[in-house]
Symmetry: D2
Subunit: 409 residues, 4 copies
């Protein structure tokens, strides 16, 4: 057992931390101002500040770190995880600057694993170059999307085309006109087995019949810095059969495969958010005086700080172990842990941010600190990829099975 990081990770971490302090943190305020002054609130990838950061990151070798293999930086999950955490400290800018932001990362992985050469050439290459952005269209407003069999968008073969009809919402990034490509989940065969009904298909955003109907909000935020969250109507949308990813019926399996590494990224970034929240909490607690002493000498606030640290250390280790399992025994072997980090991360990080906000008083919910948007974002994690409760139910079922097997052995 060995809890230290290897030399390559250490080197990249040093480079990344240097980049964060030298370029990312200093750019945050200006970037927010730039965004606020945009005429078109969803022109994210054109940001001069972001473009400059990207060039800088790339020149430092901080580019596509998320992607294993030759197409990416070739890092293992356990190597990339600590770096993802650091980018989370400035989720606003750092992941995008490194071309490591969701949902593009998951989409690039997906294309890398399941795309045809043609699909890769057309969409993966420009994504890896950050020339375009992408979106992943799965959630639907009219059904409980945590149950994949509920998906009601239809993908129907018609000659050399597929015809798509349905309604999606909270399609993150898709308000950005530069999100040229949508990966759409729908049903090609509603009568097939539970997990063979769904397929995934590439739909260019400008295909006739694709209507971006409105920008969905998250607790008042439209998140235009990351391309917002679109509601999209697909009305008789026609794409060639070559746009299918994998085969008909592969949709559910591909979605599962996409989840594994993405889960690690999300969780580590969330841990980075929590670290920054602890930092702010301590700073504010030292600065503010009430009833004759700094808040940092109040017992209750110290209790929050201690709990935050203790919970976060545990969480980080769980995510790192999951990354290690994925590297050593694969996604299947890490199944329980991949569920576990989905369950543990949102509630832990949400708790920490909540306490940091409380130490800040009204300011904590204001536009002056990163805490309020962080709280809104982390709240969404409790149901993104399916509500925590669904995952807990599934994890418990497996635990019960494992225990039953042990008893009968």
């Amino acid at each position: 057992m060995e809890f230290s990081t290897d030399a390559r990770t250490d080197g990249l971490r040093k480079e990344l931390v240097d980049f964060m302090y030298g370029h990312v943190y200093p750019a945050e305020a200006a970037y927010l101002d730039e965004l606020d002054s945009l005429e078109d609130r969803f022109a994210w990838s054109e940001s001069p500040i972001l473009q400059k950061l990207r060039a800088e990151a790339r020149s430092r070798g901080l580019w596509n770190l998320f992607l294993p293999g030759a197409e990416g930086a070739g890092l293992t999950n356990v190597q990339y995880a600590p770096l993802a955490e650091i980018t989370g400290r400035s989720k606003l800018l750092a992941p995008a600057a490194l071309n490591c932001s969701a949902p593009d990362t998951g989409n690039m992985e997906l294309l890398s694993m399941f795309g045809t050469e043609q699909q890769k050439k057309e969409w993966l290459t420009p994504l890896l170059e950050a020339e375009i952005r992408s979106a992943f269209a799965m959630t639907e407003p009219d059904v409980a999307s945590s149950d994949a069999t509920n998906i009601s968008t239809s993908i129907v073969r018609d000659g050399g085309d597929y015809v798509i009809n349905g309604r999606k919402w909270y399609i993150s990034g898709a308000m950005n006109p530069n999100a040229k490509i949508l990966i759409v989940m729908g049903k090609t065969d509603p009568s097939a087995d539970r997990h063979r009904q769904q397929s995934m298909i590439l739909v260019p955003r400008d295909t006739p019949g694709v209507h971006i109907t409105r920008a969905m909000k998250v607790l008042g935020y439209d998140d235009h810095h990351s391309g917002g969250h679109a509601e999209i109507e697909f009305t008789d949308v026609r794409v060639p059969v070559a746009n299918l990813i994998g085969n008909e019926g592969d949709g559910f399996g591909i979605a599962q495969a996409r989840l594994g590494p993405g889960r690690i990224h999300h969780c580590m970034r969330a841990i980075g958010i929590a670290e920054r929240a602890i930092k702010l909490m301590c700073e504010r607690a030292d600065e503010r005086v009430a009833f004759g002493k700094p808040l940092s000498q109040q017992g209750v606030i110290r209790d929050w700080i201690a709990e935050s640290r203790v919970r976060l250390e545990q969480l980080r280790l769980l995510v790192l172990k999951t990354a290690w399992l994925m590297d050593t025994v694969g996604n299947k072997g890490a199944h329980t842990e991949i569920q576990a980090i989905k369950i543990a991360t949102p509630s832990t990080v949400e708790w920490i941010i909540d306490k940091a906000i409380q130490v800040h008083g009204a300011g904590g919910l204001s536009q002056d600190f990163f805490l309020a948007p962080a709280a809104a974002y982390v709240r969404t994690l409790r149901f993104a990829d399916g509500p925590d409760e669904v995952h807990k139910n599934a994890l418990a079922r497996n635990e019960l099975r494992r225990q039953a097997a042990r008893r009968s052995a």
Copy 2:
């Protein structure tokens, strides 16, 4: 012991519920659209929809119900409390429609109790008529405002004037240009006893030196429907000495007196919000199907519904008892309970809304339900009027004293 409501309350409740179903709920969507299409986001009181609702409410005798005595409807706290709860179900519209919305209610009470005849004539009368709005300027960005001795705004006598300098923020309602009058808390004598340093003074919003510097946000909301939350600079602001409320040094005492009934109103409205959240949670849980059965048959969701009901019933009784104590033994006698409801209400209601959101998935944080703004609003209650932790500390100190006195007896 008797837990039923009296005939007058029953009558008003019937009238109010009728008004809610007949006029308020049906107007909500249009009102939100109206607000969204405003050129000036802070022209709240001019809303034609709100004006119409006010006329209707007034014609039904649903007007100024919060104010005891001849100037108002003459209801006791215990009579008004159940009505305040009902208005909370549409906090967006109902309190304003009945001229019962914060911070105007507290300001009207304050003027009614402590204002001179001249002050009442100039400001209370138009407020009671809903001709103007008002704001209460206490919180400051640079200090922990929960400790009143931290207040750094200065009010200095200079001949026949007072001169005010300082910075305030989160002054609710003050973005609305029709909020003609600000009640400002500051220090007239920083060297006086802890609770005799502060004074309150009336400052018309258009006095030279009053600068509305920006609109503060709460999570992503600017709350323009209720006049927003202003950051205000007071630079050498000069008002006549006649604008002082009460005497120099009375500020802290007046603030305390203002809190009592306002606390009841806030808490009961929050309970109304929670009731609506439970209603939505049940409705959604019945509608949505996942993994073969409606969410309402999932054990965990039922657990949330049950806990919500059980916690809310307890909370309501505590607030009602507090109202009864205020009516029978006065604010002083109800001191502990007034603290207790401040402690109990935000966390209970926040918990319920959180669960309702979770049942809604992404929709729960969207602009399509009242849950997201409700969550943002209720979160602020955990530090509005001072963070819960300060109140818990004070309540515990009193409990310890009471127990010590009992031991020595």
Copy 3:
């Protein structure tokens, strides 16, 4: 709405408090010593100390206060509830001293409501005189007894007799040889409707075939002061048909009827326990000094004290309202509230005791304070009368129904 108690309650409360301070509290230590030195650990009702207290209580009119109507003190639930709370402060002695201890109270109510004249004469009269004790035999070791249809004890008619076979455990009070009569729940017709399968029958403890097999423990305690908790085998136990309570199939209904007032008693006594825990917590926190100041000045401990007070006030009001509902609209009308107090009371009181223990350190779990046995007792309340989770599920089902009905109206 009116939260004060009436004159009769006030008078009895004064008398009872006087009795507690004058006789009960001073007798506790000696009573524990007396119990520890008993050769036969289950000879509870013969305690000279208890006998003397009973005589004193009776002479003060503090006798059978729990029982409404002419057979008892004629108090309503709302009148008795505050008195039950006070007895809870010394659960060890006070309820027994007043002949108001479970399970005898429930059994007396049951006989009073459903017993024949003969049954009353034989068992109710001596119980009212505290000449004998009783037990209520429902829970079974082999099934989840929260689901009444699981009850597997059989009651089979055979000529003029019923023959009983089965195994029960945790039959409180039944280790006491003076618990002359057992009320046994079993099935007379396993094929009947779900809630018509069960019957209740009177079984004298010395009937052939009744075997007390062992004393069950609760976290190491055998609770001999209250007659312990027996495991009982019923092997071909024969009693005359006249011993049936009500008719065949009435068992479930009678059990439900028995629960209502008993629930109030249990909950109010538990609130009394919590009050004493708060008292001890404050006292200890004032006395103990660590790191330069008394524990009572530590923020976290104050937080516990405040939370304890705030939660307990809410809980008490809910129980009192439930008592009032039972008095005014009956058990049926109070159904939801009777469930609610079962859900709310154990967890609230358990939380408070836990914190009081923590303030006491090791002493809190020792034999030197009442906290450890109180913790053990209150822990049982979370599944006594069925686990909280079953009640939450049922309460949620009703809430969902009510909300659905409202929607369709």
Copy 4:
């Protein structure tokens, strides 16, 4: 980063698991019977069953595994930790069978690190052979012992002797007459610096003036299987100066050094307890049927199982990382983590056991399952070695310092 265990650990684990299934678990029931039938409840180490298990364990090389270096098995902390976890699954028997039970382990470490040759020969050797037992006398009934400066027992030099006066309680193991040696913490110089006032001294249990006054209980348990918890009066107890451990004033430092590895052991054993609780929870949930389906299909119970698993995985990783830090950077470098596991372990394991009990209903608190004594034991961990709150306060202070240093850097 590497989360697998090494070959030596794997080998010992296999051996240990084999020993547990082959000898320990099968002996539990008979051991409890043996203990119950003891005339003298505190003759623990004479148990024939235990003696037999010890011989078996020793023959398998499962002996003194806790002790690093030549005197013990030479395992690192990270190697021993997973084995300690396994012994925790039968805390009743396994640690004692392997001569790895507290407080002897800590006392042996202490003697190994700080004892003179003479002290080692006299006490360490027979302890390593399990010929005698020992106790560690620190906690006092009259003060908050979490603050070491509160210790009031005096150790006064008088010629060639030290004279000891004071009162201790909850001295675990000391009811066992075979606990021949007590390590007593007292003050040699109350006027010295805060952490130089205390000394430690060896006091044979049969020294004149040592009075075992009573057996302290934990909830209803006297824990005679592990030598109980003694209250001890020291009245003019005289021991030669050679009995001092280290020098005068070293007491606090030695106590700290003793804590590190012991903390790992306690925490890992507690994790073993939690694993067994999860096992029982799953088994019971599968077996019991209520309302038409096994409890294991109830959503709320599944939620508990999932939460248990997720929390326990995180906790285990934190303890293992702490062990690794102790091995690589020493106790000082692992300071924060040693605090963190003290904070995290008791509450996590307590929560899991509580849920397992709830699934068992009344049986969960009975003498039929290991859950009730486990709950009692784990509850003590929340204040053993000082209440969690003290450790949280200290951890937060360090976090605040670290963050402040980072800010100024």
